[in-house]
């Protein structure tokens, strides 16, 4: 009954040490759940073109088909047996997405990126409970996915804006992440791994679940973190950074000028400590020694300045 605390005890397996990215690399073998749908097929093609090893698709009842040359199976377990897939990319429609995540987990997959938007919150609460204390990492839902430039792209982000390098990008947003990555690439700053964790109330991995991996990753030298108003994920990230992250971190928080919407009830605000404003999050980051970019157009330059001076 005790609330789950984010786990800070993660340590990379020996195999991962020295790898220039987290979660995925050029050897990652991807199964696409929902490959026969429009989005699943389109982005399977995009990922293949980027160089991702999309080795299988799953669509119950459609085993034997091929989509973009990729063999389709009835079950994730069949796909894993036949192709050695070890990561999943999910485009299954929202009403069936929680089931898809749990099937991927039950089939032994350690990385599950769920792109699907509009999954009921209570479905996600059950999924999180089921994944608790397991080695599975769920990214999303309602997110762009994860990419290690030049090696593997699992998700819907446009590949061409990325370039290989050593700056990690982690964000609650989709398109704003692209904006930041694009700025970095134009300044000649490459990325180690970029992750969109998703903007829903309940997400598979929060900032604090992934920051330890970036801290431990020898291929990452600095971190750009993109937050937004609402919740406490940024404040939790700031506390973690202050205690455990030695690498320089640059942050931007969007929604500084967002009007307060009409709300009904206050229960949500109470449990977030009455806060969730941009000012509060920015202050938490500053207290933690994080450099905060004022304008969304300045994130790339702020990273450049921080890397250049080596300060945090």
């Amino acid at each position: 009954m005790k609330p789950r605390k984010p786990s800070f005890v993660w340590r990379p397996r020996t195999l991962d040490e020295g790898a220039m990215s987290i979660l995925i690399d050029e050897n990652t073998r991807v199964v696409c759940q929902g490959i026969t749908g429009q989005a699943g097929a389109f982005h399977t093609r995009q990922c293949l073109d980027y160089g991702t090893k999309v080795v299988a698709g799953v669509s119950p009842g459609k085993a034997g088909m091929r989509v973009e040359g990729v063999p389709v199976f009835d079950a994730v377990a069949d796909a894993v047996d036949a192709t050695g897939a070890n990561a999943s990319m999910i485009f299954v429609p929202a009403p069936f997405a929680a089931d898809a995540v749990l099937e991927a987990h039950a089939s032994g997959l350690r990385l599950i990126a769920c792109i699907t938007e509009g999954i009921p919150t209570l479905d996600m609460i059950k999924v999180k409970r089921a994944l608790r204390s397991t080695p599975a990492v769920l990214i999303g839902p309602n997110c762009p996915g994860v990419i290690s430039p030049g090696k593997c792209k699992i998700g819907i982000m446009p590949g061409y804006i990325h370039s290989p390098g050593t700056v990690a990008v982690i964000s609650r947003s989709g398109t704003l992440t692209y904006e930041v990555v694009h700025q970095l690439t134009r300044l000649g700053i490459g990325q180690s791994t970029c992750i969109g964790i998703g903007g829903d109330t309940v997400v598979g991995s929060a900032f604090v679940d992934l920051l330890p991996r970036f801290e431990d990753d020898s291929g990452t030298t600095a971190i750009a973190l993109i937050g937004e108003i609402g919740g406490r994920a940024e404040q939790d990230a700031a506390s973690f950074i202050r205690a455990h992250v030695s690498k320089p971190v640059v942050a931007f928080v969007s929604g500084k000028t967002a009007p307060r919407g009409k709300r009904m009830g206050h229960a949500g605000a109470i449990i977030s400590g009455g806060g969730g404003t941009a000012a509060e999050k920015i202050e938490a980051f500053r207290q933690a020694g994080v450099t905060v970019a004022e304008s969304p157009a300045d994130v790339g330059e702020t990273v450049a300045a921080v890397i250049g001076s080596g300060r945090r």
């Binding site: 609330p3 009921p120 709300r263 977030s272 969304p296």
Partner: protein, 391 residues
């Protein structure tokens, strides 16, 4: 999606969450009839709008006779009610809930919500009810009782007892009553996919009954497909008509007070675009988030909504294509401009999937769209053009 108080109370009643006896009225005559059929000596006449702060705004009135109920109803129905959550124009009152008064012993607060930091549901309670609970939480957080609810076990009896003790409810009967009430409220939350279920005040009557004197239920929009009966309770009058029209095209639209119309894809980029416009001295008139899945037709109809806003003196289009393709946006924009006469300057910043095709379509069209290389240039340009066009 938010429910009206009378709808929430009907849901509560069907789950065994105690509520006062009452009925809905759309005319003063109906209000008087409801009061008569309820019987009693005192009645509450409550405006049914989707906003808090009704009490202070005069939206909740007491009456001591059915004729007084009639008079209150006559002055409330059809008139705007202004509260701190409605904006200055207020919200027109179309329905009233008339309830039989009860003798109150104590007022508390009880709610269920989702705790984003633990990814669980949480039951919240406070001895101080009927007041701004957010203020209580800020001033003296120790007065808020919290029970984290495991999704597998559900709300356990010991948890309901802990809350009951915290609310000074002792003795076998009082504990059983409190446990039943809380379990029923939690069942409403879980079975109907709520995002908030809040009772403020929860009253203990002089007869020892627990009643939800007020009821707020917000439903998870993503789960409405599982609850068609609840989805049918949507009150379209409570929504901004333009925002509703955009929603029908599966897009989201927010109306604001400035003079720059904005079309963006993605909520994070939309908020960042608003931030940068203000940083450079401008004010957005509205925001249209075309999201990821819209087709050309949807973009077109949405862009027409944006252009129709009289306040707009210049338009900024800031698109970073991912799922959304830039050529889809470009075709939608041109389609809308063919059908709507629009003279104000347009600034476009396109990047991402199919950007070359999108830029090409705009350049060839000859509609004179100013292109910007990046976000800063786009924001500076549109702020300057909007100011020049306002003189």
């Amino acid at each position: 999606m938010n429910l009206h108080e009378y709808q929430a109370k009907a849901v509560f009643r069907s789950y065994g969450v105690g509520v006062p006896r009452g009925g809905v009225a759309g005319t003063p005559d109906e209000a008087r009839d409801v009061a008569r059929s309820l019987g009693g000596e005192v009645w509450a006449v409550k405006a049914q709008i989707h906003a808090g702060g009704r009490g202070k705004g005069g939206g909740i009135r007491l009456a001591r006779s059915p004729d007084e109920v009639f008079r209150h109803a006559a002055s409330m129905l059809g008139a705007p009610l202004v509260t701190h959550q409605t904006g200055v124009a207020g919200q027109i009152v179309r329905k009233l809930l008339v309830e039989r008064g009860c003798e109150i012993e104590r007022e508390h607060y009880l709610g269920v919500a989702i705790d984003r930091s633990t990814d669980q549901t949480v039951m919240l309670a406070s001895r101080e009810g009927g007041v701004e609970i957010e203020e209580v939480a800020k001033r003296s957080p120790e007065k808020i009782l919290t029970e984290q609810i495991d999704p597998v076990c559900g709300l356990m009896p010991f948890q309901t007892r802990r809350i009951a003790f915290g609310l000074d409810m002792r003795g076998e009967r009082a504990l059983k009553r409190a446990a039943d009430f809380m379990s029923a409220l939690h069942r409403v939350f879980m079975e109907l996919d709520c995002s908030i279920a809040e009772i403020n005040p929860l009253v203990l009557t002089k007869n020892g009954e627990l009643l939800a004197l007020d009821a707020k239920l917000a439903l998870d929009d993503s789960a409405l497909y599982r609850h068609p009966d609840l989805a049918a309770m949507l009150d379209p009058e409570e929504e901004d008509p333009t925002e509703r029209e955009a929603k029908e095209s599966s897009l989201s639209y927010v109306s604001l007070d400035g003079n720059i119309g904005c079309m963006v894809n993605g909520a994070g980029l939309a908020m960042a675009t608003m931030d940068i416009i203000k940083l450079h001295g401008g004010e957005p008139a509205n925001f249209l988030d075309v999201g990821g899945g819209a087709n050309t037709e949807q973009v077109k109809s949405a862009f027409k909504i944006l252009l129709r806003d009289d306040k707009v003196r210049a338009v900024l289009i800031n698109i970073f294509g991912g799922i959304m393709k830039c050529d889809t946006i470009a075709k939608g924009i041109l389609g809308a401009l063919e059908e709507v006469r629009f003279k104000a300057p347009l600034v476009a910043r396109l990047e991402g999937t199919n950007v070359e095709i999108g830029r090409e379509i705009l350049a060839r069209s000859g509609v004179g769209i100013v292109t910007a290389a990046d976000m800063r240039e786009a924001a500076q340009t549109v702020v300057r053009l909007a100011a020049a066009n306002s003189r």
